[in-house]
């Protein structure tokens, strides 16, 4: 079977610009959640998030590009530019593709233009609103910018979008449909309409994201993107590329139960499926990047699922939620979180779960509270369990 490796990575998140900056911040347990700043924020109950402050789109893009690039597209373009540069290859052609995850797509564009027609009473919006807001805009721009003419599309499965996208990119290379893929995800939902909708669910925290901590108070949103170059192993070896990690396995399952409540069985089947696909035993997994949203429902179900699959090995595995630092990037979250897995594999640094105050007996695993741990890790898992009961788990292994 064709093997797939990662040869480039790029990221933009509240933890920093660039994959290295993000990994360094994760390793240091840096908090990236702050007061939200945008129009009408004073009308929200929820006023914190992993917002990228000080971001100036005009310093990265021309006026014409900004006309076409919603914030979520901009993040994806920046992350992809970095990933392709690191991989050091010409990715153009029909043996390459793009699969990106997003949930909200151009939500800022929708928000701004709804405001114009509903609130300001305007009867006309910019002619390029539709191509700017569409969920596939980021994937399409990456294909155009890099001359990629193979299979390209967007996956939208809420909080699992990025993991589904990266799993698809992995399968496309495995199946021989392409040799190199740009993949990951992007999200920019931090605007009045975006947060107002989430408030209704009553699952958002007003104070902090505290996964696995008994005093948790809910999830906190973030924004940003991460994009990776996935490449067929021999393709990378022939050109002498630096291999960051191997994508060893992937599995996806559906709960078929509830539209918002997590399901232990669906999560456990995705975790065990990824292990089986990667031919890895639970004992060989040194780190799990948890979905770890900081809601009681998720955290307890996720720990139960890990215990069910890992058995006695559950007590030995380290499992942390970096959402405590960057927030929940929804459709982009799995991509940014894969950086924590690469950090563990390459540097033996296990990013912590910050804001951890007190253990929850229902989450009695090694959740790496507050401070990074050092450990030699040769294989990792990254969990994503979406609203709608759609689960996607990726397994990575050290570079061969």
């Amino acid at each position: 079977m064709r093997r797939v490796v990662i040869t480039g990575m790029g990221a933009v998140s509240p933890l920093g610009m660039g994959a290295e900056a993000n990994m360094r911040a994760m390793g240091e347990g840096c908090p990236g959640i702050s007061d939200l700043a945008f129009q009408d924020v004073e009308r929200l109950d929820i006023r914190i998030g992993g917002q990228i402050h000080g971001y100036d789109e005009t310093s990265h893009f021309s006026r014409q590009e900004i006309t076409l690039y919603d914030r979520f597209t901009q993040f994806a373009v920046l992350a992809a530019r970095e990933a392709v540069a690191q991989a050091g290859l010409d990715i153009a052609g029909e043996r390459s593709g793009v699969v990106l995850g997003t949930s909200g797509g151009g939500l800022n564009t929708q928000n701004e233009n709804f405001r114009k027609v509903f609130e300001a009473g305007k009867n006309r919006v910019h002619p390029l609103v539709v191509p700017r807001l569409m969920n596939n805009a980021a994937a399409s721009h990456l294909s155009m910018l890099h001359g990629i003419t193979g299979p390209s599309y967007t996956v939208s499965t809420a909080c699992a979008s990025s993991n589904h996208a990266m799993g698809q990119a992995f399968q496309i290379i495995r199946a021989g449909m392409a040799d190199t893929m740009l993949t990951g995800g992007s999200e920019a939902m931090l605007c009045f309409g975006g947060i107002k909708a989430w408030e209704g669910l009553r699952v958002m925290s007003k104070e902090a994201c505290r996964p696995f901590s008994l005093n948790r108070s809910g999830m906190v949103q973030g924004e940003g993107a991460a994009v990776f170059v996935f490449e067929e192993l021999s393709h990378a070896q022939v050109r002498g590329a630096e291999i960051l990690a191997e994508v060893a396995g992937f599995a996806m399952t559906s709960d078929a139960s509830d539209i918002v409540m997590p399901n232990v069985d669906g999560a456990a089947r995705a975790i065990s499926g990824a292990l089986r696909d990667a031919r890895l035993a639970p004992e060989s997994i040194g780190y799990i990047n948890a979905h770890g949203t900081g809601t009681a429902a998720n955290d307890r179900a996720e720990c139960e699922a890990v215990r069910r699959v890992f058995g006695p090995a559950a007590q030995g595995v380290r499992i942390s939620s970096t959402k405590s630092m960057h927030g929940h990037l929804i459709g982009g979250t799995g991509a940014v979180e894969l950086l924590a897995c690469i950090l563990a594999l390459r540097e033996g640094v296990i990013a912590p779960t910050i804001n951890f105050d007190m253990p929850d007996p229902a989450c009695d695993l090694n959740v790496v509270p507050n401070v990074a741990q050092q450990a030699g890790v040769s294989a990792t898992l990254s969990n994503a369990f979406a609203f709608g009961g759609l689960n996607a788990v990726l397994a990575l292994r050290s570079a061969p």
Binding site: G200, R216, T295
Partner: protein
């Protein structure tokens, strides 16, 4: 007034439970009425809209005492407190 609030709250819960108001006993819990977590969030939204109040409720800690949802009566009491507090 108090009776009026009780009737309105019961009507909201009855609608979520797909029952008539007469079938909703004040002693009943939401679980007994088959109102699940989504139904609860919708119930609270309906209460906020009906009475023009803010209900302090976080689905992560539904048992928190800020807004007692342990029974229909406890919800009525909590709403009465919020409505009277707002006056």
């Amino acid at each position: 007034m108090a009776n009026d609030i009780a009737n309105k709250v019961i009507a909201i819960i009855a609608e979520q439970a797909m029952l008539t108001p007469e079938e909703v006993s004040p002693k009943a819990t939401l679980a007994e009425l088959n109102v699940d977590s989504l139904g609860l969030v919708e119930t609270i939204f309906a209460i906020e809209e009906r009475f023009d109040i803010q209900v302090p409720f976080n689905a992560n800690a539904p048992g928190d005492a800020a807004f007692d949802i342990s029974s229909v009566q406890s919800i009525i009491d909590a709403v009465e407190k919020l409505v009277n507090g707002a006056e």
